[in-house]
């Protein structure tokens, strides 16, 4: 268990178990038990299984999160059209009620499972696990999980996905990352949607939206799209294809990838399940070591509406799971060409697993 090797001790909680720390003491008349586990340990455990399931089948799993109506289903419809072969992907839909979204996906010839959560505000790893058992994953490369429309709760639950994509439609306001830091910190990609409306909106500044994302500590890339108008879909697809290549490289190397940020015990992996009597053996070796290639396409829309796009590819290989991303620094936004600051933040210390 973790207490043996100390891998659940992080910079943030080390003081607790230091000599004289609160947890080193016991109180009269009571048995004090040190636990140091995420409250969502059980969910995280299931998520680990889901991810192993995806990896064993060579599947890349992407979790889409946004407020209701930001265009998650429209993005999926455009993705199906762009991917060409509907058999490449399946979709797990989360909503409080109705089969509407699954019906829209099925109308495109793609298999979809609707999870009606009732009043639950998020999907959890168990719901996704149940849905996976109802899907035919033969030959599937991509599993999209369309989370419940909500900028709060879904960010806290690891579902077993490899990547989180947070959509922000331009009608919602450019300060959303500052208002919902937990959600936007969890994003491996921020996708601004409904960008065709930028022409008629005078209060959404894409530069401010990106700055707000940087200020919550995220280096995630930003893409712009208006899937219903077909705009930006090429860049989105290039990102997916790049991530598919990266996933294949990880599988070849026997590694996996977790989404950008998970709340709580993300850094406190639990090698053993909460229930002592149920004895699975887990290989965390799979979460070590990392090799991947990315193709990133970026389309930049400047204040006056000029747009330019560029793509770049890079490959790297590391011994540890790490957060990575690109920060684009725009000097004078009207000036071309502008400088790019590629920032790779490798958080090794926090992510190392035994």
């Amino acid at each position: 268990m973790c207490d043996t090797c100390g891998c659940n001790i992080t910079d943030g909680n080390r003081y607790l178990v230091s000599p004289g720390g609160r947890l080193a003491q016991t109180e009269d008349g009571r048995a004090a038990v040190t636990v140091l586990k995420s409250l969502l340990d059980e969910n995280d455990h299931q998520a680990l299984h889901n991810r192993a399931h995806f990896d064993a089948r060579g599947i890349l799993a992407i979790n889409l999160m946004s407020s209701p109506g930001a265009g998650k289903t429209a993005l999926l419809e455009a993705t199906i059209d762009a991917l060409g072969d509907p058999r490449r992907m399946v979709v797990i839909e989360g909503d409080l009620e109705t089969e509407n979204d699954a019906a829209r996906i099925r109308a495109k010839g793609v298999e979809a499972i609707q999870i009606a959560t009732g009043s639950a505000c998020h999907l959890d790893a168990h719901m996704v696990h149940d849905a996976l058992h109802r899907l035919d994953l033969e030959g599937v490369e991509l599993v999209f999980i369309e989370n419940v429309g909500n900028l709060v709760c879904p960010a806290s639950f690891d579902l077993g996905q490899h990547l989180n994509v947070t959509l922000l439609s331009v009608t919602e306001g450019d300060d959303k990352p500052a208002k919902y830091p937990v959600m936007f910190r969890a994003a491996d990609l921020m996708l601004l949607t409904k960008t065709d409306l930028l022409a008629v909106l005078d209060d959404f500044d894409t530069v401010k939206a990106e700055q707000a994302l940087r200020l919550v500590g995220s280096a995630a890339p930003v893409l712009y799209a208006s899937p219903r108008k077909g705009a930006g879909v090429d860049q989105w697809l290039a990102w997916i294809e790049g991530e598919l290549i990266a996933q294949r490289a990880r599988i070849e190397a026997g590694t996996t990838r977790r989404p950008a940020v998970q709340a709580g015990g993300a850094r406190l992996h639990a090698t053993e399940p909460a229930r002592g009597e149920h004895g699975h053996a887990h290989s965390h070796g799979a979460e070590h070591g990392h090799a991947h290639t990315h193709t990133h396409s970026h389309e930049h829309r400047h204040a006056e509406g000029r747009v330019h796009a560029h793509a770049h590819t890079h490959a790297h290989s590391h011994g540890h799971d790490h957060a990575h991303g690109h920060a684009h620094t725009h000097g004078d936004p009207l000036e071309h060409p502008h400088s790019h600051d590629h920032d790779h933040d490798h958080e090794h210390a926090a992510e190392v697993k035994p």
Binding site: S38, R185, D345
Partner: protein
């Protein structure tokens, strides 16, 4: 409002801790919650009695410590507190920081009533 789900998961863990440590009633629960965990301490406090009713943790005292957001600067090496939507180094203002604390949703420890084993002659 996923605090009830979180509390239900907590109660399950408390049941497990109790079962593994003599099955005593849970009397005190210490949590550490950071502002970037996505859960609200006040809502957890309200959900806990509902989630724990009828379980080994019913009536337990819930002590929640608020964890500060602390970032370590990759540029100047300083550690400082930061706001959730302004994750900058307090010393040099750099955004190249690593979060050290702030997203915790941690069950730190549990205090259980000690169950005294019945004397052998009574068995």
């Amino acid at each position: 409002m996923h605090e009830l789900s979180v509390c239900q998961a907590l109660v399950q863990q408390l049941e497990d801790v109790s079962a593994a440590n003599g099955r005593g009633a849970v009397e005190l629960v210490r949590l550490r919650i950071g502002p970037l965990s996505g859960v609200e301490a006040a809502l957890l406090r309200r959900a806990f009695p509902l989630a724990s009713a009828g379980t080994v943790a019913a009536g337990a005292e819930l002590v929640i410590t608020a964890a500060p957001i602390v970032v370590h600067c990759n540029e100047c090496g300083a550690s400082s507190e930061a706001a959730s939507n302004r994750m900058l180094c307090g010393a040099c203002n750099s955004f190249r920081v690593r979060m050290v604390s702030g997203d915790e949703m941690l069950l730190e420890s549990v205090e259980l009533a000690v169950v005294h084993a019945a004397p052998a002659e009574m068995l």
